[in-house]
């Protein structure tokens, strides 16, 4: 009895070991380093100098604009993604013919096989002067500016993050017991009431998973706004690149990074709470 338990523990350790080691070396240790940096000072020649001060956190308002822009971009971008993704996921899970479903799902995922950078460059070209505006000019609609607008940034974000939103929503809709929809109709609910009262509520775990996934990634996003927004608006991502690579103010960059992580955690917990409460699920799976 004792021996078998020992063996099982050993097996568990063996299975979890590699992943745990990976996480310790590449996540936990760097995180500790960043946390230590964030209460330090910038060395005169750049980098980190040991200290114990909250000066870096006190200095956060200096980057308030970048914070503010990120805090707008992340939820708005995630919301735009959600609005586009939900109908797609709904169609895939509940309407699409069974034999097409896998193919259609594959089509959703395939763009992921190309780097986001390349795809965003492609959008630069499509939206730029020689892309759609040139086509519009050809049919007589002149002076349409698409690139370097907020609309272009939103488009790029929705395009880039759509699969991450579609998949979790698809999974939760796919799992939905169809008889619940029949029961709702049987009890007199119109299709709209059934959607709002049953389908939407029970797919909320998927919605929240997708929403928090996209939102957290958007908190660090700076590539798409830079390329499609013309780089005129700065985000936390830009600030981090600038602080770590250009002005080499590691402690301040670390303070910003830690704050960002805390915000992400808060978002995750809130999303989890909401979906657990509304959908009555006892647990919420991240994907």
């Amino acid at each position: 009895m004792h021996g078998s338990r020992l063996r099982r523990n050993f097996l568990t350790a063996l299975l979890l070991g590699p992943a745990a080691a990976w996480l310790v070396v590449f996540l936990v240790l760097p995180f500790i380093a960043i946390a230590v940096f964030s209460v330090g000072e910038r060395a005169p020649e750049g980098g980190y100098q040991a200290a114990l001060t909250l000066a870096q956190y006190a200095n956060l308002p200096a980057r308030a604009t970048a914070f503010w822009n990120t805090m707008v971009l992340a939820p708005v971008g995630a919301l735009a993604c959600l609005l586009v993704a939900y109908p797609v996921a709904y169609y895939l899970a509940l309407q699409a013919p069974q034999r097409w479903r896998l193919i259609l799902l594959a089509l959703v995922v395939i763009p992921f096989w190309t780097s986001l950078l390349m795809r965003t460059y492609a959008w630069m070209y499509i939206l730029g002067g020689r892309g759609i505006p040139a086509l519009l000019a050809f049919i007589g609609i002149e002076d349409i500016r698409l690139i370097n607008t907020p609309g272009a940034v939103l488009l790029g974000i929705v395009y880039g993050y759509l699969p991450l939103m579609i998949l979790p929503i698809y999974v939760s809709l796919e799992r939905l017991d169809r008889r619940l929809l029949e029961a709702s109709a049987d009890l007199g609910a119109t299709p709209i009431s059934t959607f709002l009262g049953v389908t939407l509520k029970l797919s909320l775990p998927g919605v929240m998973t997708g929403f928090s996934l996209v939102m957290i990634l958007l908190l660090g996003e700076y590539l798409i706004p830079t390329l499609l927004g013309g780089g005129k608006v700065f985000f936390i991502g830009n600030a981090l690149v600038d602080l770590f690579l250009q002005s080499r103010n590691w402690p301040f960059g670390s303070a910003i990074a830690i704050t960002l992580v805390l915000v992400s955690v808060v978002v995750l917990i809130a999303a989890n709470r909401i979906s657990t409460r509304v959908s009555g699920a006892r647990r919420v799976d991240l994907i």
Binding site: E182, A183, D186, S193, G280
Partner: protein, 378 residues
């Protein structure tokens, strides 16, 4: 029947592609009846129920609810409610909100006070008062079953549809719920349509049993009629236990036919349709219509192979030479009194009810009123 039937099928056929699930069903369910649709899986009983609920549309024919043609009427506008298989309760709502779900859909809107009081009454009716704030997953199977009942009945439907409602319950609970459902039906006085593959359930609960096979109604009648006077071999075999003995028609004597069995014995049997001399038939003998006696008496002589003691009765498997194994049910307190032991020789006689003879080949030209419609599609 002068009253408008609660449910009426007129020439209803349902096809899924090349498969015909239901063919040419005609059925009228009188008000305040408890009707069971009984049949093996795939016989079309669930499809019929779903056509009443509005989840399927007939390919041909019409379904009427209280005289109204339901063609094109979606489920949410039909005056019926369903208790689903495995209940289909909303997991994100508590017990009371599940029960109140239908009331909240009513237009014009009901006041929240009325919703609460009616939901409360419905829970009381199924003996779940005080469970309103429980989560669905905190309830036992039997309690979930009762929530599903309350959720359907609270809307005061014209007809309650029950799709294998007791299939997920254990035997004891199932028996309790059978009685409870019967009582509820009498109390509320609305029509219940029950779909089941369990013949015992159908016989014990309903006023009428509609036996279905291969998408058609084979027999419609009161439970005792179905059991005692099956119209064909399928019904005789499917409803209740029976012994089927092969033989040929040796002659006629008045209303009865004489059937020569495989071992040469000739027995007299009733018939449901005219039989030709020399025709191959199956004779149905209910286990409880056989009597067991001392080896020197009786019609057949056999040896007890197996005995199942059931309390007030005992079931015997008796091997009869040239015929096979017969199942006999004997009340061990009456008559012979003794329990026979495996290996003991025994004689079998007919205690009650003359056996019934059916032609071997399946014949659908029987004498029920539904049959003229059954012929339309084959």
């Amino acid at each position: 029947m002068t009253a408008v039937p609660d449910i009426e099928f007129r020439g209803v056929t349902k096809r899924y592609g090349a498969v015909t699930a239901v063919s040419g069903i005609d059925l009228a369910v009188p008000p305040s009846a408890f009707v069971a649709l009984l049949g093996p899986s795939g016989c079309g009983k669930t499809t019929c129920l779903r056509m009443i609920g509005g989840f399927e549309q007939p390919s041909e024919g019409q379904v009427f609810i209280r005289g109204q043609d339901m063609a094109g009427t979606p489920p949410y506008r039909r005056p019926v409610n369903m208790v689903f298989q495995q209940y289909a309760l909303f997991p994100h709502l508590d017990v009371e909100d599940n029960v109140a779900y239908g009331l909240r859909q009513a237009r014009p809107r009901l006041s929240s006070r009325e919703i609460a009081s009616r939901a409360g009454e419905a829970l009381e009716m199924v003996r779940l008062a005080g469970y309103g704030r429980r989560k669905i997953h905190e309830l036992s199977g039997g309690q979930q079953q009762r929530v599903a009942l309350a959720r359907a009945l609270v809307n005061k439907p014209a007809v309650l549809l029950l799709d294998e409602p007791l299939a997920a319950l254990d035997k004891k609970l199932r028996t309790d719920m059978q009685i409870e459902l019967q009582n509820l039906q009498r109390e509320i006085g609305i029509t219940f349509v029950l779909v089941t593959h369990d013949q015992e359930e159908a016989l014990s609960m309903s006023d009428f049993v509609c036996v279905m096979n291969g998408g058609r109604i084979v027999q419609l009648g009161q439970p005792s009629e179905i059991y005692d006077e099956p119209v064909d071999l399928f019904v005789a075999d499917f409803v209740g236990k029976t012994n089927l003995l092969s033989g040929t028609v040796a002659g006629h004597s008045g209303e009865l036919v004489e059937v020569a069995l495989a071992d040469g014995t000739v027995i007299a049997a009733r018939k449901r349709m005219s039989l030709q001399r020399g025709e191959a038939v199956s004779v149905s003998l209910r286990p409880e219509s056989l009597s067991l006696g001392a080896p020197e008496s009786g019609r057949f002589k056999g040896i007890v192979r197996n005995r199942i003691f059931l309390g007030s009765t005992a079931e015997y498997a008796i091997e009869v030479k040239g015929i096979g194994t017969l199942l006999a049910k004997a009340d061990h307190l009456i008559g012979h009194g003794n329990l026979f032991k495996p290996g003991e020789p025994v004689a079998i006689g007919f205690a009650s009810r003359t056996p019934l003879a059916f032609p071997e080949t399946k014949n659908n030209g029987t004498n029920q009123r539904v049959d003229k419609h059954v012929e339309i599609i084959s």
